[in-house]
Symmetry: C2
Subunit: 580 residues, 2 copies
Amino acid sequence: MDKILRINMGANGGPEAKTESLGDYAGMGGRGLTSAIISKEVPPSCHPLGEDNKLVIAPGLLSGSAAAMSGRISVGCKSPLTGGIKEANAGGQPSQMLGRLGYAAIVLEGKPAEDSLYKVFINNDGVQIQTDNSLRMLGNYDLVDKMKAEYGEKIACISIGQAGEMKLAGASVAFTDMELRPTRHAGRGGVGAVMGAKGVKVIVVDDAGCKMRSPADAEKFKTANKEFVAGLRKHEISGEGLPAFGTNVMTNIINEAGAYPTKNFQLGRFDGCEMISGETQAELENARGGEGSATHGCHRGCVIRCSGTFYDKDGNYVTKQPEYETVWSHGGNCGINDLDAIAQIDRLDDDYGLDTIEMGATVAVAMEAGIAEFGDAEAAINLVKEVGKGSPLGRVLGSGAEVTGKVLGVERVPVVKGQAMPAYDPRGIQGIGVTYATSTMGADHTAGYAVASNVAGVGGKTDPLSPEGQAELSKNLQIATAAIDATGMCLFIAFPLLDQPETFQAMVDLINAFSGSNMTADDVTELGKSILKSEREFNAAAGFTNRDDRLPDYFKKEKLPPHDITFQVSDQELDQVHSY
Amino acid sequence: MDKILRINMGANGGPEAKTESLGDYAGMGGRGLTSAIISKEVPPSCHPLGEDNKLVIAPGLLSGSAAAMSGRISVGCKSPLTGGIKEANAGGQPSQMLGRLGYAAIVLEGKPAEDSLYKVFINNDGVQIQTDNSLRMLGNYDLVDKMKAEYGEKIACISIGQAGEMKLAGASVAFTDMELRPTRHAGRGGVGAVMGAKGVKVIVVDDAGCKMRSPADAEKFKTANKEFVAGLRKHEISGEGLPAFGTNVMTNIINEAGAYPTKNFQLGRFDGCEMISGETQAELENARGGEGSATHGCHRGCVIRCSGTFYDKDGNYVTKQPEYETVWSHGGNCGINDLDAIAQIDRLDDDYGLDTIEMGATVAVAMEAGIAEFGDAEAAINLVKEVGKGSPLGRVLGSGAEVTGKVLGVERVPVVKGQAMPAYDPRGIQGIGVTYATSTMGADHTAGYAVASNVAGVGGKTDPLSPEGQAELSKNLQIATAAIDATGMCLFIAFPLLDQPETFQAMVDLINAFSGSNMTADDVTELGKSILKSEREFNAAAGFTNRDDRLPDYFKKEKLPPHDITFQVSDQELDQVHSY
């Protein structure tokens, strides 16, 4: 994994691929690599859909190896949604396969002169780029079927649906899962729109003939991996809660905490939670699809297996198990308590290639504007279908919550840096509010999951309703997360890492054994800091100031029931988060 | 003119009016007053449509007096379009009438608890505020007819059309002219959306029983006014060009200069210019409406009279004479060469209450996206009609060029700080590019009309195609303009002021004679600087940095024919503009 594949879509005479060595980027992976390339090569003032932006797709440092949990992949660019730097990541199979093919990153550059659509095929023999306008406006599911028919069943796909082709700021990049379905999405920030602007519909990856990446010290690697896996299995969240109920285990927990954003962040509890909780969902999946339907990894090598499969009442596949944030965004946030409707929307989002968090938040804003009633599941489904049609209303919604709020004249729009807040009200869980406000990514729970400490007590308990200690907590989590995002490991390893020092050490040993390095815990922290620093510099050069590190005013003015509390962390504390 | 009328729309028990003395704001008027109130009273981080924003409507310092040209009125708020401070100004009758009623400003505050629409009636007896939902979604023309029927013919109206009610960021505030038609608009920055968010549909003003405001020194005032008027009449632009052909006299001039933005800023010359020029327009108006149809003031006391009346081929009134910027935005910028179609759109814009510059720029962006063909006048009319209908597409367009570009995935969007550029390509007239980039208002030609020097040689000639001297030029013009905007005088006095020192002195004398002050030319400069400074501070607190003082990248990369030139003024020079 020592080479970069650069595809210049704007080359005279058509797209041109070339492979080069990592050079200055040696030793980087995942978010570390995407943010380094964007920071160094993309002018911060450029238009996100223009020729100067780049789309970087990078497996993690350990992707393609036998390390557990190492199959995440990062997608970076200047974001059409936030106007700042973006890294969105996903599971699925492409990460491991690209790792085995030796690619540390694919970089899509330039802009095609003609309005053609391209497909890229990568295997052990090299890279082929072909015009294929027959793919135009295909959903991800049909697209992948077409690729299977063309290239066989042993491939993996990286693709965009209609939303990416329309260059909508809510568009995702889809990655196929173990069943070769386009269910794993780098969702946030409109990365799919940048892929669409590059004219690339799909990248097909085939690693036939490639070997697993081998560690520098095989024996140490094996030992560390064993210890690491044991640690993951031992922890109650990664070993019990997530495998049994998936991420949706959070619905009851966050609702109980009074921080479940309901009806466009008007309330902190949803009276329909029981009907859409992880417990209810797992039961339904197991009943419809057979025991084990609610336990499934998003990529090979996953030992947490927080995913699953959602079937309809006749036992037909609908979509992968909708995540907590999806169930929330299209569920409680829209006042909807119907798991089948939510699953149907999840499928539509995946097919059109849309960020489920942004879309649910956007539908709720549209509901607040009176476009539909809160709780009307059929109306919500139809609104998402508008995006697929590319109607004017659909394009508005597909552009995300901020644009929708502007177009519909809504004041209560829960965004930071233009990106919609996920499934945790920052008034009910003040720590996550700090992350929303100060993350380089816009409102993003995965950038520093303070919920773990505020609600679950992981890594020590902090009071979710008090501003105290939240800035420090979020800072440390943001640093740790940036480092984890560079490894290609799933963020859920953070739960045992924070609670079990020996599991943290096992992860460090794993990296060292693989790469022959001598990293310490401090080095991991330094890696995280340096990634955040480069991202902050990009954003500053793009015009961001500490005024962008704020929640919308209404979170400081409107009290959230049931705790009747506003966001309490001071601006001064927010400004301290990135002083390291 | 020593009192402020504050209307708290959010008061318990319904809207509440109170009158207070000017206090700290004594001696301020027009933009000086609107920007002072916004800077002091509006939190820069607030949502433009929320309760904390205020809409300030302020006549100029000399409004309501016998001073020539003193009938302009300023509207200020935090802009829904730019997110920064905004002053948009207009002609019409309300300024003089409010001046005579003694109001230095009307301030709309708070937010109504209920979704009701209000009308405000102001006369010598005081202020009445009434709910009137029968006005809902009326266009400005029907609305004014209704007010005439209710309050008689001697009123003036300040109102919003459908666009303002929908809180669209392209919405204007309309002011009635001498014929009691809603043709004079504070167009830019979405001030109408803020009025809509306050729930105020119309403010009816009746100055019956009020006297002209009298000067401190009547004799000196009379002399100065005479000298001032003589100066205006003597100058070839204010005395000849503007009265004969209106502002549209610029079409041939700017086209000849190769700086006429054509087809969404793709070209610098439009081959249909002859058909929509001021000369053609004046000829048509005189032929259809009788000699003199093309010579008309926008308010009583105007001696330049750059306006006129546009009739259809049967001699029926269509709209006031469309301004140069309107003829450009809906004409050449959309590839349209049909004056009747342009006049029809001008009428629609006035009726719906839309900024003609923003709307034309937006239609051109939509045309670039393929929604309609450049040059298709009927399609353009229908697109603007969508706004009146409030369809999803209409709401997008009514939200302005930037949002439309996002929704339709267009890269070439000519905006600064979210506001569309007016009728001068900054590559062909580099001086105006400096103003677009660095104005506190977003891209705004009236904020520092460098075209005067670059093209017409007013105040000394600078080469329009060279970056040299442009920053200094724009700086001085921005300072002078801020001061003029505080007086309530029409900006067109700037042409003789810049060329004729005695006319400048006459204006200073006029102000001094009126207010009994002892202002010098230096004081005028200081006034301008202090206004700009407070606006810059507001914008900085709202999150603006020097990265916001830039043109979109493509102006630095794409060459504009026929001169094949990019925007050349360096970032360093742009950053010097406001160092005073």
